[in-house]
Each structure stands twice: as structure tokens, then as C-alpha cells.
């Protein structure tokens, strides 16, 4: 569970890095499943490193990986931040290639979305770690950074890689969580670096948020039999997560 200080840090800065959450043995297990899912997605072909490979609704495909959703070490902090009736959104598994320029995954609509990321390879400031601009998850600061979206230059007289930021260097086993409205990027990473991400949101309390959630869910969730380990896990907490999705009309 997060301490009072960690919760205050997450509110103020928009992110948190939790060190050594998962053991080396656990990371070995996660890595094996991760590699397996991606290889299956490539039909057994070798990853060439020419471009990023991303598979959505990732952890939902495997019983072992879907356990991450309701693992106390992830679910607990999510409940503290989003409330007891939190909503599971989606997950993605990635083999990243090259730089990811400044962007935010979500717009500021008063409906928070939290990403929980596990970096399966060590990443440092110049080898692909997550870079974030502290406090940029909330307006007005979030909006003053819009020049970062410019395609040719960030608009602040510096190269993208020199935009002032905090570096979330990470070792396998660490957990990085951040508001998806936060401006973030990564530079210098090698081809094929492995990142597993899970996304959560709060239970919608307004019609507008419910509508937004429906459109978001339709966009990011890959439905089909591959999600059976998630939809019918036999795990009480995970089944209550799925029940809430059904109650919201997001799952059958």
C-alpha cells in the first residue's frame, strides 16, 4: 500500500516509482509469458527491430499475467488512488524501438486514467527510461506544454531530448505508475526493449464520464476468446472487476 507521502507525491508530481516490487524470480516468470505472447502475435517470426510491436489486451490473454491486475502490490495502490470500485481498462505489451517523443495518452477531462508500467529490461536516462514533466498531468501547466506536440520542434528552443524533465530510471521488478494526462517521453532506448503496461480508471460518477469510458474501452480493448483467462479467472477479486465492467455495459 502507498504511504501518505507517496500519495501526496503522486498527486503533486503525477507519477511514482516503486522500487523492487517484484522479485527476480517473479520477473523471470513474467518475462517468459511476455515473450511468449509477443512471439505468438508474430506467428513465431523473429522480431526484426524495424518497428515497435504492440499487443493490446495483453495480460488478459494469460492466467499468470492477468494475476497482475489484482495483485495486491498493484491493485492496492490503484484502489487508494481510484477508489474501491475501480475500473479495469486494458493492458499492452510492447517491444519498443527508438525514441518516443513528448505526448500524453489522455486528455484532461476530470476522469483520471492511471498507467502502471513494468519495464522488463533495465532502462536509464539515456537508454529509454520514462521521462516525465512533474506536475504536467493537471491544468493549467498541462496545457501550457502543448508546444511539445509540434512535429518539427518542441517550441521551447531546445531539442526534444533536452526538454526539462525527471527521469524514471528503472530496474526489472520496479513498478512505475503515472497519470496518463502527464507529458512523457523516452529517448535513447535500444530496439526491442520490453514494457508491460496496465491501465485503470475510477468508476464513472457522471454520464459524461460513463460515455467517455465507453468510447475509450471500445478503442483500446481487443475483444475475443483470447481474453478468457481474464474474463473467467475464478479469482474473486478479478471476477468482481469483470462484474463491474458488465454492470457498465462494457462486457457481455
Amino acid at each position: 500500500m502507498l504511504t501518505v507521502g507517496q500519495l501526496a507525491a503522486f498527486e503533486a508530481f503525477g507519477f511514482l516509482r516503486l522500487g523492487a516490487v517484484f522479485s527476480a524470480r517473479e520477473m523471470g516468470d513474467i518475462r517468459r509469458e511476455f515473450d511468449d505472447v509477443l512471439e505468438e502475435d508474430r506467428d513465431g517470426r523473429r522480431f526484426t527491430g524495424d518497428e515497435r510491436q504492440m499487443v493490446q489486451s495483453f495480460v488478459e490473454r494469460r492466467a499468470a499475467l492477468s494475476r497482475l491486475i489484482d495483485d495486491d502490490r498493484i491493485y492496492g495502490p490503484m484502489v487508494q488512488v481510484l477508489g474501491p470500485d475501480l475500473v479495469w481498462l486494458t493492458s499492452d505489451g510492447n517491444l519498443y524501438v527508438g525514441d518516443t517523443d513528448w505526448h500524453h495518452d489522455a486528455t484532461v477531462k476530470g476522469y483520471p486514467q492511471i498507467k502502471v508500467a513494468l519495464y522488463l529490461d533495465p532502462v536509464g536516462r539515456d537508454t529509454g527510461c520514462l521521462r516525465v514533466i512533474p506536475g504536467s498531468h493537471t491544468p493549467p501547466y498541462h496545457h501550457t506544454l502543448e508546444p511539445l506536440s509540434a512535429s518539427d520542434s518542441p517550441g521551447f528552443g531546445v531539442a526534444s531530448a533536452d526538454v526539462p524533465c525527471a527521469y524514471l530510471e528503472s530496474e526489472p521488478g520496479d513498478v512505475v505508475m503515472f497519470h496518463q494526462t502527464m507529458w512523457h517521453a523516452s529517448f535513447g532506448g535500444g530496439a526491442g526493449r520490453r514494457i508491460l503496461a496496465l491501465s485503470f480508471a475510477p468508476y464513472p460518477t457522471t454520464d459524461a464520464h460513463a460515455a467517455y469510458l465507453r468510447s475509450l474501452y471500445a478503442a483500446v480493448v481487443v475483444k475475443g476468446r483470447s481474453r478468457e483467462p481474464f474474463l473467467h479467472s475464478g479469482r474473486p477479486r478479478l471476477e468482481s472487476v469483470v462484474s463491474r465492467l458488465r454492470a457498465l455495459g462494457l462486457e457481455d
Partner: protein, 260 residues
């Protein structure tokens, strides 16, 4: 020439770094003059035993005094604060140890835009005393999520956000001698890990007051501080018009001269 993009950088993040504005020979001269000033002020005290801070500073030696009028420096307040900027004061420091987080503490952000132009005459990096900042924290928001960092806290047990002050998320303004670091003191800033006796010298500028309230605020600052807003006699009587101009507002307001 400071570009519009650099101005946007300053307004958004609260700082700018200018790389290698001064040559190695100029840096050596700055260092020599700075050490002369410190030795004169120190008298018989042993150097390196404590933080040495001198105000006013740059005015005391010829090359250092010329810096406020050097185009490479002068353009900075002229662009960021407007042509009617004035000199708030100058300072010289041989630092010891760490400087805790602070910025816009006490009574809150300054109503008058202001900047500090800083010369680090030693290489400084993240863990060796460079300035650390929280970009964008100079802009006042309610509630202020950074309130716990605004005033300097020297308490060894202080754990902002549950971590040691040195672990607070930040951006490190690493610099080499010859660089200039410019920031507004409303920006949350600190430094950690620096070696004893590292040089940090600065001149601070403010934008010209626009309202009576601004003037009253300046009078309040003048009363609170022994050196800030006290124009040096040598600058009041300078042969250089731009130096005379940048202290003329202080003279006009009747602020007493410093003894330098």
C-alpha cells in the same frame, strides 16, 4: 540574441541555461577577482570552514563589475523583464554543503517579475552541487501542492512526500564554468552534494514597478533586507550609462546607497 522560444522556455519552466557564454580566460579572471573579494572580507578567518556569502559583490572588482553591463548578460533582463528593469543586487558565495528546497516561500510569489543570473565557476552536476529545479513550479496554483518545499527547512528529519529532500523529483541544471544559469527565485530550487568552497556568484534583476502597489511592495522588501535594493555608490556614479540607468529607479525611490 534571446529568441522567442527561449523566452517561452523561461516563462513555462522558470529557467534558462546559456552554454559557454564566457571564455576560459574570462572565467579565470572572474575566479581570481572573486577569491580576492572573499579574502578581503574574510580577514583572519580560516577559509573553507563555513559558507561565505558577500553582498554586494560584483561591484567590488573591475571585471566582475563590468558583467552587469556586458551585452551577454544585459540582454537577459532586458529581454525577460523589459527595458526598464533594474538591478536588485549582486552576491558572491563560496558554498558549503547542500541548499534545501525553497522558492516563493514566506509571503508567496513576488508581484514583480525578477530573475537571478548565476555564474557557477566550478563544474557542477546533479550530485555535486548544481542547481536542481522543479520545472514550472514558479507559477502559483491553488492549492499549492508544493507548499511543503517553499520555505527552507534545515530539519534533518524533514521528509517531503515521504522521501529525503535529495530524492524529490527534479531537473538538474548541470553546468560548466562559462555557462550562465538564469532563473526566477519563485521557482523551487535546491542543490545537493556540492563540494566545499564552490563558487556561485550572481546578479539579480527586477522588472520596473508598474503600480503604486508594486512600489509599496518594493519599499517593504527594502526595509526587510540589509543589502537588496541598496544601490552601490560605484554603480550610482558609474561612467557607464547602462549601469547608471539600472540603479536609477532605486535612487529615485530614495533607497539608501550601499557602502561599495
Amino acid at each position: 540574441m534571446i529568441t522567442a522560444e527561449q523566452v517561452a522556455h523561461f516563462r513555462t519552466f522558470g529557467f534558462l541555461v546559456f552554454r559557454q557564454l564566457f571564455t576560459p580566460d574570462e572565467v579565470d579572471l572572474m575566479r581570481r577577482e572573486a577569491l580576492e573579494i572573499m579574502a578581503e572580507e574574510r580577514g583572519d578567518a580560516v577559509p573553507g570552514e563555513k559558507w561565505e556569502a558577500v553582498q554586494p559583490f560584483l561591484e567590488r572588482k573591475p571585471f566582475l563589475a563590468s558583467l552587469v553591463d556586458d551585452d551577454r548578460v544585459h540582454q537577459i533582463p532586458e529581454t525577460l523583464l523589459g527595458p526598464d528593469f533594474f538591478l536588485e543586487g549582486t552576491e558572491g558565495n563560496l558554498h558549503m554543503g547542500s541548499t534545501p528546497w525553497h522558492g516563493a516561500g514566506g509571503t508567496g510569489p513576488s508581484p514583480i517579475p525578477h530573475i537571478k543570473v548565476t555564474f557557477y565557476l566550478d563544474p557542477v552536476s546533479r550530485d555535486s552541487g548544481c542547481l536542481r529545479v522543479i520545472p514550472g513550479s514558479h507559477v502559483s496554483e491553488r492549492p499549492d501542492v508544493y507548499a511543503s518545499l517553499r520555505d527552507r527547512t534545515y530539519d534533518d528529519d524533514f521528509m517531503p512526500f515521504g522521501v529525503a529532500p535529495s530524492e524529490v523529483p527534479h531537473y538538474a541544471l548541470e553546468s560548466e564554468p562559462g555557462d550562465l544559469v538564469v532563473f526566477t527565485e519563485d521557482l523551487l530550487h535546491a542543490s545537493f552534494g556540492g563540494k566545499a568552497g564552490r563558487h556561485q556568484h550572481a546578479c539579480s534583476f527586477m522588472a520596473g514597478p508598474k503600480t503604486e502597489a508594486d512600489v509599496e511592495w518594493l519599499r517593504g522588501v527594502y526595509k526587510r533586507y540589509r543589502f537588496a535594493l541598496h544601490p552601490s555608490r560605484s554603480f550610482v556614479n558609474s561612467e557607464r550609462p547602462r549601469i547608471r540607468r539600472m540603479v536609477s529607479k532605486l535612487v529615485e525611490l530614495g533607497f539608501e546607497e550601499g557602502n561599495c
